[in-house]
């Protein structure tokens, strides 16, 4: 059997395909090597020029050389032709070069299918809302190009409308698949790059500058929604790592907590519990930033002896956790001696002036000592600033007696040092303080700029007591947030210092939309799926029954579409059935009747293209024409019908297709 020569590609369809190539390959320029981007642009421009001038396409051998050279360059650049980046580079290369050998409609179809595939690869790099919107538009464009290819020249607006309509028809299937397709744990596409890139969060140790640097970022650390009232701003202490070991420069968590399982902390609640859930951005650490102090934790997490909620694994993807916390509490009134010992340890040397001051206070009761230190911060000339001067070897001395300018980490650090030197057990706690309510969706947004450090001292009757020395210096930091506390010249990120209401409103809306997207699109994991399905009245679905239901519902939807679009084909007319059966048989033999093609025209075409079937087809066509369009209307059970039906049986058996 000879294949029919492929249908020629219309000149007017070429721009569609070039735009398709641009729309699908173009955005990859961001992460492709520059030479490849230049090559892609050059190839597309070249093809556009050829199209415009109606020139011949380049000869095959030159394209072959180009492909070999470019593939070799990709292999050299990435060290492989496979894997994510090299694979995407190869696809982009093909997308740019295929139009240069696009002669007929089949080639154009290859470009379009490649385009659909290339669309998916964008999700390797970004899964944000703009990416989603862009890909939706590109998908419409691809569908439009497909319509243009098959439907001929039409106004762009008509093609756009049809393409949009097609995508709309796909919407029910999309929703069904979204709801019911069994989810796997973790993101479907492997980890996109932006899950790891720029993971920022609280440092795992604290030295001067580590918190204030973090404050320069307006990025969201986490967002929380409270079941009831949101507590006072001044009570929102989100607990991160606890630092109880100091070497003169850096505070870190002592290793004893990591190693031996410390006794669980004893918490006496003295106020109501607050229920809330947080969506944490990935920060590659284990702490979960619960509100001080958590009484109920999400599964797969634990409370450390130092009261920080910790997940079992470092947080590598954005996740959602539910907590319950009490804000008024007493904790660990009977602290383990080893912990208290650790909370008194200082480096043997350094900061003599501070030690001297502390020894003056040593005779007082511990609570008085803390008050004295806070009074010093409050009454003397201390300043709260993001740009403190650099400190030398005896950093605490210099800060307390000379520079007196510092950020929360300086105050917390100096305060804890003073306490320890005066014999009061104390430790530094890092975390976030405050947060801003987004009125659009009711979430409290906590940013990196809300990062904070404070102190805890242990008193015999009270247990661990939070003391925030920053509050003594700059009360507005705690009551109103960092923007209010810092003077205008300080280098805070612009996004948190929006003055105009509409800009603030716009930002709130955008962040709320992103949050919904993150939760419902990117974060639609097996657990979320179970929640949704049980809310829809299906308490405990497993993947088998979900797949079965999916198949049934998709089948039903298809059936509805078929009933809607094919009303003419439902009629049960034996004449039509017999003729369609005959045509279907010919279709299997490689000659397909177009649905608009009349019987005699079809018979003539068969005679041209398959002379061996000419006689029989012409007979069948004449019977059919007579039955359907002739004068014997309704006479469908007579002799002509039997003859038409016999034509199907008289077809010669199919030869095996040569490949």
């Amino acid at each position: 059997m000879r294949a029919r020569p492929p249908a020629a590609l219309e000149h007017g369809a070429v721009p569609w395909l070039l735009v398709v190539a641009l729309a699908t390959a173009g955005p990859h320029a961001e992460h492709l090597p520059a030479w490849l981007t230049v090559l892609v642009a050059a190839a597309l421009l070249w093809r556009t020029w050829l199209w415009h001038q109606q020139q011949r396409m380049p000869p095959r051998w030159s394209l072959a050389l180009l492909v070999i050279a470019a593939v070799a360059a990709i292999g050299w650049q990435f060290g492989s032709l496979f894997g994510k980046d090299a694979g995407v580079a190869m696809l982009v290369l093909f997308m740019a070069l295929k139009p240069l050998e696009m002669h007929n409609r089949r080639d154009a179809l290859v470009v379009i299918m490649l385009g659909y595939f290339l669309l998916l690869t964008h999700y390797f790099y970004s899964q944000s809302i703009p990416t989603g919107l862009w890909l939706l538009a590109a998908c419409t464009l691809l569908t439009g190009a497909l319509l243009r290819l098959h439907g001929g020249a039409q106004p762009v607006i008509a093609i756009a409308r049809d393409a949009g309509l097609l995508l709309l028809q796909a919407l029910p299937f999309m929703l069904l698949l979204y709801l019911l397709f069994p989810r796997v744990t973790g993101p479907l596409w492997g980890l996109p790059q932006d899950a790891h890139a720029g993971l920022s969060g609280l440092p795992s140790q604290m030295s001067p500058g580590s918190i204030s640097n973090l404050t320069l970022s307006g990025a969201i650390a986490f967002r929380s929604r409270f079941a009831g009232e949101i507590p006072e701003q001044a009570d929102l202490y989100w607990r991160g790592p606890v630092f109880d070991e100091y070497d003169g420069v850096t505070w870190r968590a002592s290793r004893q907590h990591g190693r031996s399982p410390a006794p669980a902390p004893v918490i006496e609640a003295r106020g109501p519990a607050h229920d809330y859930s947080s969506i944490l951005e990935a920060h590659n650490q284990r702490w979960l930033l619960a509100l001080d102090v958590p009484t109920r934790l999400p599964p797969d997490s634990s409370l450390a002896a130092t009261l920080e909620a910790q997940s079992r694994e470092p947080l590598r993807i954005r996740s959602r956790f539910s907590f319950s916390s009490v804000l008024d509490y007493r904790v660990n009134r009977m602290e383990a001696p080893a912990s208290l010992q650790q909370a008194l340890t200082l480096p043997p040397q350094g900061n003599p002036r501070t030690r001297a001051l502390a020894s003056e206070w040593q005779s007082r009761p511990p609570a008085r000592i803390a008050e004295a230190a806070l009074a010093m911060f409050r009454q003397e000339d201390f300043h709260y600033t993001l740009r403190p001067p650099l400190l030398g070897a005896d950093a605490i001395d210099e800060f307390l007696f000379d520079s007196r300018r510092g950020f929360c980490e300086h105050y917390a650090s100096a305060f804890v040092f003073l306490m320890r030197a005066a014999g009061v057990p104390a430790r530094v706690v890092a975390g976030y303080q405050g947060g801003e309510l987004n009125p659009v969706d009711g979430y409290l947004t906590v940013r990196q700029s809300d990062a904070h450090a404070w102190a805890e001292i242990w008193l015999a009757d009270e247990g661990w007591l939070r003391i925030d020395p920053t509050a003594a210096v700059a009360p507005s930091r705690i009551e109103q947030g960092i923007v209010a506390a810092l003077p205008a010249g300080e280098p805070l990120p612009g996004i948190i210092r929006l003055d105009a209401d509409w800009m603030r409103d716009l930002r709130n809306r955008w962040e709320a939309a992103n949050n919904t997207w993150n939760q419902w699109v990117l974060g639609y994991n097996p657990q979320r799926q179970r929640e949704v399905l049980s809310r829809l009245g299906w308490p405990d679905p497993d993947w088998r029954s979900m797949t079965a239901l999916l198949a049934v519902l998709c089948g039903l939807a298809l059936l509805l579409v078929a009933l809607w679009t094919l009303p003419g084909r439902r009629r049960d007319d034996p004449v039509q059935r017999a003729w369609q059966a005959y045509c279907a048989q010919l279709g299997r033999r490689g000659i397909v009747r177009a649905d608009w093609e009349g019987p005699l025209d079809f018979a003539q075409r068969v005679a041209r293209e398959k002379p061996e079937l000419a006689t029989l087809t012409s007979e069948a066509a004449r019977h059919y024409a007579e039955l359907r369009y002739g004068e014997g209307d309704g006479d469908s059970d007579g002799e002509p019908l039997r003859r038409l039906q016999q034509c199907v049986q008289r077809l010669p058996p199919q030869r095996r297709r040569r490949i």
Partner: protein
């Protein structure tokens, strides 16, 4: 229904016409169909491709009295309809009939005349009679207008408005002859010399009989379904400013019947509708872009309507 059962007069006429107009068998058959379906014919193409020859040939072969008017921009309605002159001998006005009083009127380059003159002719086409100076005179029976026009993009023309285009049952293009046809044309000289030698193939009244037979070709409900779907598709299709009118649908049916009849068939098939659709629809459908539908548009239209 073997394909050779064309009614013999039809076969003869077509054979004779195709001997004069080479390589245009579809167009001559369409032209004949137009007359069989009692419609007027519009031929549009560049000068010199044989429009006039085709019209003239058909008139002679059918044995019709033939007259020809070359339209120009300074022509007045009276030049076509006729004029009353004072006869001294009888001392009364005598009506001198214009060229319109013929069975076949060839209106050459109709789009060169002013709209006033065009409408005078088109009224005659519609009414089958001429009214001048308060007196109504019937036109001969049958009465056909075969109008030719140059593509209206040419300078110095008055394009016919839609309402008048609608009065032409069919509009055909001739196009350039193919290679072989042009070669025989070059070898045997122009075709006009042959015209006077053509003999009529039909006797008086025979054409009327053929028209009646063509109008009696069977149309099944299935075919009407298909025809209606096609017409509805022109109305739904966004590319066209308007769809086909009910009158156009009637024209389509009449033309399809004539096409089936000239094909020697006693029933209309979808193929017949598809064959005449371009000639019926192209001058009646205007694209959003402003131009008339071309053959490709009609092909797309046909492909968009499946046969049930």
């Amino acid at each position: 229904m073997p394909p050779t059962t064309r009614p013999s007069p039809v076969r003869e006429i077509l054979a004779a016409a195709n001997a004069v107009i080479l390589g245009k068998s579809t167009q001559t058959r369409l032209a004949l169909c137009c007359l069989l379906a009692r419609g007027h014919l519009l031929i549009e193409d560049l000068p010199g491709v044989g429009k006039t020859t085709l019209a003239h040939t058909l008139a002679r072969l059918l044995g019709f009295q033939f007259s020809r008017v070359q339209f120009t921009s300074d022509m007045l309605p009276a030049d076509i309809l006729g004029v009353s002159v004072f006869d001294r001998e009888q001392s009364s006005f005598r009506f001198l009939p214009g060229p319109v009083f013929a069975q076949v009127l060839l209106a050459d380059e109709i789009n060169r005349a002013t709209p006033k003159t065009q409408s005078a002719l088109l009224e005659a086409m519609e009414e089958g009679q001429v009214t001048t100076e308060g007196e109504t005179r019937p036109l001969p029976e049958p009465f056909f207008v075969i109008a030719t026009q140059n593509p209206s993009s040419q300078i110095g023309t008055f394009p016919l408005p839609e309402s008048q285009l609608d009065r032409f049952l069919l509009r055909i293009d001739l196009g350039y002859p193919d290679h072989d046809a042009e070669r025989s044309l070059l070898e045997s000289g122009g075709r006009r010399e042959q015209l006077p030698t053509l003999a009529a193939r039909l006797g008086a009244g025979e054409f009327a009989l053929l028209q009646r037979q063509a109008a009696a070709v069977h149309v099944s409900p299935a075919l009407l379904d298909y025809l209606q779907l096609l017409v509805e598709a022109t109305r739904k299709e966004q590319r066209f400013v308007h769809g086909l009118s009910p009158r156009a649908a009637l024209s389509l049916l009449a033309a399809a019947r004539a096409w089936a009849f000239t094909g020697g068939r006693a029933m209309v098939l979808p193929e017949d509708v598809q064959a005449v659709l371009p000639a019926v629809a192209r001058h009646r459908l205007r694209l959003v872009s402003g131009s008339h539908a071309d053959a490709e548009d009609i092909a797309l239209l046909i492909r968009s309507v499946p046969l049930a």
